[in-house]
Structures are given as structure tokens and as C-alpha cells.
Symmetry: C2
Subunit: 265 residues, 2 copies
DNA sequence: GAGTGGTCTAGACCACGAC
DNA sequence: TCGTGGTCTAGACCACTCC
């Protein structure tokens, strides 16, 4: 990473800096390596630290850098591909591996907003199961799975096991698993999905081990059963480390594209 | 929007400001309305302008605010849902409406990176068609569709029309349309797709009418034909205004969820 | 020319991790 | 205790839009 002087260009300094830094980390650094600290880089390029940080912000958003307080700035590993399309990935009981882990469950009347999204009357009881998704030893997503009572009511009750069967007070995590077990019996005949950019709220940020305001990919999934909306899942994926993949079952899975393929065009 | 004083809280000022501003624009402002300017807001909340701007940055990334130089900061319209899943949306000739408009076409040997992504030998001729997607009168995406010569070679040649047939030099836009017409004849039997966060490079930014560094959703689609990769499309969607939707054909399309549904949980 | 957001500066202090 | 990134300040000037 040389001591490049910034030539007078019409583009902003921070953008030019980003380009220079990007070229440097591509050619002179490898995954996990720490790059020089912000004060040093700012001095080296002859800019204020705030300007340098603007460039680092971009590269961090692109998933090329990871900044750790007290440690330094590291070259990030390539984003991990996370399958979100196939039904088994999101629906309880479908996946062999344990990709989703139940964290919590709250039972509460639906707020006006939530009721509208679920297509049920406001105030109806809604089970909200909170789950986290772990990939390669790291939490990559959190999810709130909202299930209106009326959807569960169409299912036969199941036997409770363990502590709950013995009349003890079930934990919230245990309650969540019970709801999920009941959902396993529900046949899903359709799912509609959308993806948009958002920022992590306080609770999500904590679960994702990131500061509040971190960019996330918000995946909203509507599960339909018998022509009705049976459940609504809102999942937030870490945008810095995740690449969401939407495969079609039974099709050829071609080789993954390098993250930087688009700069090659 | 009152003159709220910031209480001493463990969370950063800019994050608290975001929450206060979000509540204000939800309750006191409507779409398209201008909110007070940055210097006034900073004074009103007793913070530096840079701190206030951090909060506005968040809200802009969430698609809640739009900032226009020389004009002011406006409350943004809700994000538009953009279908990206169905085959007809991306593949040439499939869609009745003209959602994609050809802009340019370059014919060049594949760079090492691009060749690797396409699964062809480096240096093979690759047609790259540049298109833009227009929704509701606004450019919401740009795309580079890369087609290796070997994929086109498996198709019968088609008659050229208009200027090209008369031996004149075809424009690059015309070349692009010719490639697209040939692609219409190719039967696609599979597509694999991924979505990740990126930033708009200079050329993309210009087409999207946004400054460089703007967050975009990068949709990479691999089209397979006869078990081979026939084309690679890299599309960048404006993250501020777009919500990508992935519908499954033949399924119930349930009501869209409000953009702020996740804050209701 | 007046007003807006966009960029940039040169500092300061804090929170966190390693030693 | 030291070095790191995270936050915040109080200014400055520029680019753009509108009148």
C-alpha cells in the first residue's frame, strides 16, 4: 500500500480513496490480515481521518473490510452464500441440519400493523417465535416468525413433552419449540418472498453481534396454506457477510460467481 | 417535530436521533414533504451537523428519506416492489411489457475473471449487453448481461433487419438488440440467483441517477441451457427505492407487507 | 444571491481489547 | 497502560437549485 498522492479529480476524495484502498487490499493483503490503522492511513494519504473513514465505510458495506474496536481493520473473508429459497430452509422441520435455532417466543395480541400484515383482526393472539440462523459458527440472521392463533387452531393439538407435560411452567424457548412443532404439521402450499435493505435495530444488532444501524438484508416471507396466509417471517441477514442465494430445486447448480465479478465488466 | 432534548442514554446520539426523527416523519409528515434543513435540525436538537447527518444517512438507507442537493430533504415514498424471480422478468423476449431497455453492447474477449465466472476459456469473445430497468417512470436498475460466443454459436443465425441488413455500421444499441433477439431463441431450463449488498460504481451510479457509492442490491443470475451456463446477468437495483420480490408462479399472491411491519414486532 | 445538501478539516474524548 | 476504532464537535468551502 504505497503513499499515493491524490490527484486533482472531479470525484470526491473518499471515493477515490476507496478505489485506491480496494486495489491495495486486492493485491497486497489477504483474508484476515490487518491493514494499517486509520490515523496512519489518513496521514499517509494526506486527508483527515473522517475522510478516510468514509472510504472505509464503503469498503465495509461492500463486505471487503471488517473493523473491530480495540483491534484494527481486517480484510474480510468472501461472503458466504446462504440459501433462502427452498422451502426447507425456512419452514420448521424441513431441514435436516439445524440451521435455525429458537431463541424466544412471545404470545401477544396483534398490533394494528401486524394484524394488517397477517390479514387477521387486530388484537388476535399471535405467536411470535424468535430464531437465529447460524452458518459456519457465526450468527448470520435473526428472524421473527409470526403465526396467528387462527392458523394454529386449524391444526390438531399435539402432546407436550418434557417439562411442559409435567405441568411445570414452560420456558419461552420451550414455548417457541412447541409452536414450531405444531407448524411442522401444517402443509405449506405457497410462499412469497421479498428482499430489501434495512438497518439492524437494537435487539437484532445484539443477536447479530453488530452495532445498531448495521446494514441488513430484510427477507420477508409469507407462507400460504389452503389459500390463506398461515405465517409471516421477517428475517434480517447481515449484509456484510451474507450473499443470499435463491436456487430452484432440481436444476443445475452452476459454479458460484466471484464476489468481484461485476467489476470485471 | 418538537424540540426534544436528548436524554443521557448509553446509545449513540445519532441512533437516538434516528429514532426520534423516524417517529416524527411517521406521524407528522407525509410522502414528498420537505423536512426542516440540516442546520436547523442540528440546532434544534443541540448537536453538530455531522451528527445529525449520521441519523439522516440511516433513514435514507432505510428508504424513508430522500435528499436532494439544492432542494432539501423529503419524506420518501414507500419502496416499490420489483419482481425479479419469474423467468420472464429477466430473460429477453419473455415479458410483454418493456421492463428492460437496451442501452449499449460491447463485444470483447473475456477477462480472466469474467471467463472464470462464465466457465469459458479466458479470451473467448463475450457479448455484454447493458440494459436499464424502468419502473414507474424511474430507472431502478442497471444490468450487464454477459453471453459467451460459444452459447450464441449453438443457435442458428437470424436475419438482420433495418440498417444492419443494408450493410451499414450497426450502432452499439442495435448490436445489443440483435444479441437479445438471438437469445430469445435459446431455451432456458434453469436459473440460479443470488442477492447481496453493493455500492454503485461510477457508470452504474450515473444510470441510476445517484452519486457513486450509493447502496445497491446486486442480483446475479446464472442462466443455464442444456446443462451449461448460457449467460450471466449482473443487475444492480437501487436499494433506497426497491423491494425485490420473488414470487412463485401459480401460487397465491398474498397482500404485500407494509415496509415498517418489522418494527411492529 | 440565498438556501440547500455534499465534502472536508483538525481536533477531542470515549469504549474496547490486548498486554 | 496503550493502541484501536467509534463518536462528536465547530467550523469551512463547494455544488446545486431556485428566484
Amino acid at each position: 500500500m504505497g503513499t499515493a498522492q491524490l490527484t486533482a479529480v472531479p470525484e470526491p476524495k473518499y471515493w477515490h480513496l476507496r478505489t485506491v484502498l480496494l486495489r491495495a487490499i486486492d493485491s497486497e493483503f489477504s483474508t484476515g490480515q490487518v491493514i494499517p490503522n486509520e490515523r496512519e492511513l489518513a496521514a499517509r494519504f494526506g486527508v483527515a481521518r473522517a475522510t478516510l473513514r468514509q472510504a472505509l465505510d464503503q469498503l465495509e458495506m461492500e463486505g471487503r473490510l471488517v473493523r473491530r474496536r480495540g483491534i484494527g481493520t481486517l480484510v474480510a473473508a468472501p461472503r458466504v452464500g446462504v440459501p433462502v429459497s427452498r422451502r426447507e430452509e425456512g419452514w420448521p422441520g424441513g431441514s435436516r441440519e439445524q440451521v435455525w435455532q429458537t431463541v424466544d417466543c412471545v404470545i401477544a395480541p396483534a398490533t394494528e400493523q401486524l394484524a394488517k400484515a397477517l390479514g387477521v383482526p387486530a388484537g388476535e393472539t399471535v405467536y411470535t417465535v424468535r430464531r437465529v440462523r447460524v452458518a459456519q459458527g457465526q450468527t448470520v440472521a435473526t428472524e421473527s416468525l409470526h403465526v396467528p392463533d387462527s392458523a394454529l387452531a386449524r391444526l390438531p393439538a399435539i402432546r407436550l413433552s418434557g417439562a411442559a407435560a409435567e405441568g411445570e411452567e414452560p420456558g419461552r424457548e420451550e414455548q417457541g419449540r412447541t409452536v414450531l412443532r405444531r407448524l411442522e404439521r401444517l402443509t405449506v402450499d405457497g410462499e412469497s418472498r421479498s428482499v430489501e435493505l434495512g438497518v439492524a435495530e437494537a435487539d437484532e444488532a445484539q443477536l447479530l453481534q453488530r452495532p445498531p444501524g448495521t446494514p441488513v438484508l430484510v427477507v420477508t416471507t409469507q407462507y400460504a396454506s389452503g389459500g390463506r396466509l398461515a405465517a409471516l417471517a421477517v428475517a434480517t441477514y447481515r449484509a456484510d457477510t451474507c450473499r443470499l442465494t435463491f436456487g430452484e430445486t432440481g436444476l443445475v447448480e452452476v459454479t458460484p460467481v466471484a464476489a468481484s465479478a461485476r467489476t470485471a465488466s
